[in-house]
């Protein structure tokens, strides 16, 4: 890329560092930005800078936010007795997209995995019990991923929260909507059968 202008090669090599972006896509994006309006380019660079300077963790739920507490924690219309426990902030985003959950969240910051050195102390678990104790939580919905670490973490939290007199629930296992039965793996199908409901 010696023949390109240095600012262009600099942008291309920065873009290449991003996940899922290879050299070709990076070059295409760089040339696109070159041809885009000055306003668009400035808006993008400002958005990136704001991301680093203005986004932080909410002191209550540990989700990502600009103001503290976050817009969900400070929204009085949100049901404070309902608490959805997730592993990562991106899971909050996933559940919010459903527009059907009106409770609050608690982000653990990962899943328990001693093999990776992630124990109870590395996650926001003490903060979770504190919230359950003080905020009048009636139900804690454990929405960790249905993989090995997610299951262990969910079971551990259930064990931890049960003595506090809170109802602990787990997201249902089942089939993806619009999917084909014969594409589903046996375990998913078995769980879906176990969790069937009457019509």
């Amino acid at each position: 890329m010696d023949h390109l202008a240095p600012p262009l090669t600099a942008l291309i090599s920065e873009l290449e560092k991003l996940p899922t972006i290879g050299p070709k896509t990076a070059a295409r994006l760089a040339f696109y930005l070159l041809s885009a309006s000055k306003e668009d380019a400035e808006a993008l660079s400002r958005a990136i800078l704001d991301l680093k300077s203005k986004v932080r963790f909410c002191s209550r739920c540990f989700s990502l936010t600009e103001g503290d507490p976050c817009s969900i924690c400070s929204d009085p219309r949100r049901d404070a007795s309902l608490l959805c426990v997730v592993a990562e902030a991106k899971d909050v985003y996933a559940i919010e997209r459903t527009m059907s959950y009106r409770g609050r969240y608690h982000v653990l910051g990962g899943l328990i995995s001693p093999i990776e050195g992630i124990g109870i102390a590395q996650l926001k678990i003490a903060e979770l019990t504190e919230r359950v104790r003080k905020d009048g939580v009636a139900e804690a919905i454990i929405a960790t991923n249905p993989n090995a670490e997610g299951e262990s973490t969910a079971l551990y939290l259930a064990r931890l929260l049960a003595p506090l007199g809170v109802k602990v629930t787990r997201l249902a296992y089942g089939l993806p909507i619009g999917g084909d039965l014969d594409y589903a793996d046996e375990v998913t199908l078995t769980r879906a059968l176990e969790g069937r409901r009457s019509l």
Binding site: S113, P114, G119, I120, S152, V187
Partner: protein, 376 residues
Amino acid sequence: MRVQSLDLANFRNYAALHFSPPGGVCVFIGDNAQGKSNLLEALSLLATGKSFRAARESDLIRAGTPLARVAARVGTKNGDVTASCLITRVGEGARKRFVRNGRTVAYAQFLGGIAAVTFMPSDLALVSGPPALRRRFLNAALSQADRTYYRDHAAYTKIVVQKNALLKAASGVERALLSTYNQQLAAVGSQLLCARARYVQRLSLSAAEVHARWVGATPGFSIRYAPSPALPAGDASPGAALAALERALEAALPAELVRKSALVGPHRDDVEFLLAGEPLGRFGSQGQQRTAVLAVKSAEYALLAAASGEPPLLLLDDVLSELDATRQRTFMSSIADCEQVFVTATEAPDAPTLGGAHVYEIVDGRVEASAHAKTG
């Protein structure tokens, strides 16, 4: 189940091979290091997704090339299946990709598409070797016949790894988390335990029958499952297994905290081979152990045939070399009726022993119809 064609590209010493084996018995003869066992290894790879002998999977890729491919078209009772495995060099290691009927599938989905039973000289250690060999045998046999077993075993192994890491954690052991892992281990472990108990019981019956046919009804051969923990009165019902495992995990807790390792559960199981009630591993002669392993393998074949509803492929690596001429003949006639069998040997047995077998010579990564071959 019958292999109609096998294609290899840069697999072991095969640069390129297209081979359309006939049904019945195929004998591959050739000197050492010509590629006889590599053919069986390729077929076994398509059945189990793993090499039966490579310590490093990058060894499967022909030297100096980046990618190996093994593909086969297999006729099954549900129609033709194409299966292939691509092995790519990644750094020092290798990555595998599985394709079935043209679609990339996960390992768990790939398993069980093609069923095969393999026998090779190192299997003789099954009787007298360490328990890990017998657990590996159980896991491989059950995973092929039962996909739920494979999943349960994978899940169980993951939790054991996490539990061991927790027991070794420098920051101290969080007891509630340890109890959580034990709860999960008891739930999945009891499933494994029940599946293994059922399997060993059927394996024992079938192997005893074969053994009696070969060497007479006495002394009787049997296989005994020795689970960890031992089950009270041998009751292997799901409820009893769960209760026993829960109790044993609870009881082992102090010792586990001291030794910093998971001490009870199916990862410590064993299987005993008995002749007239005595452990063969300690008291059996070489010949008795050999006969026992062959009986176990033919029982595995029978059970896999029953589970999948059709005879699996039979892959026999170098089984004739230690048999005298009479036993070679008996052995060859005992496999003559199998749907498809692949046998390797350094020397071609004589014509009466071969019977109706098709013979191929393997020379430096090429397969050639042999002068010994019967026509057709």
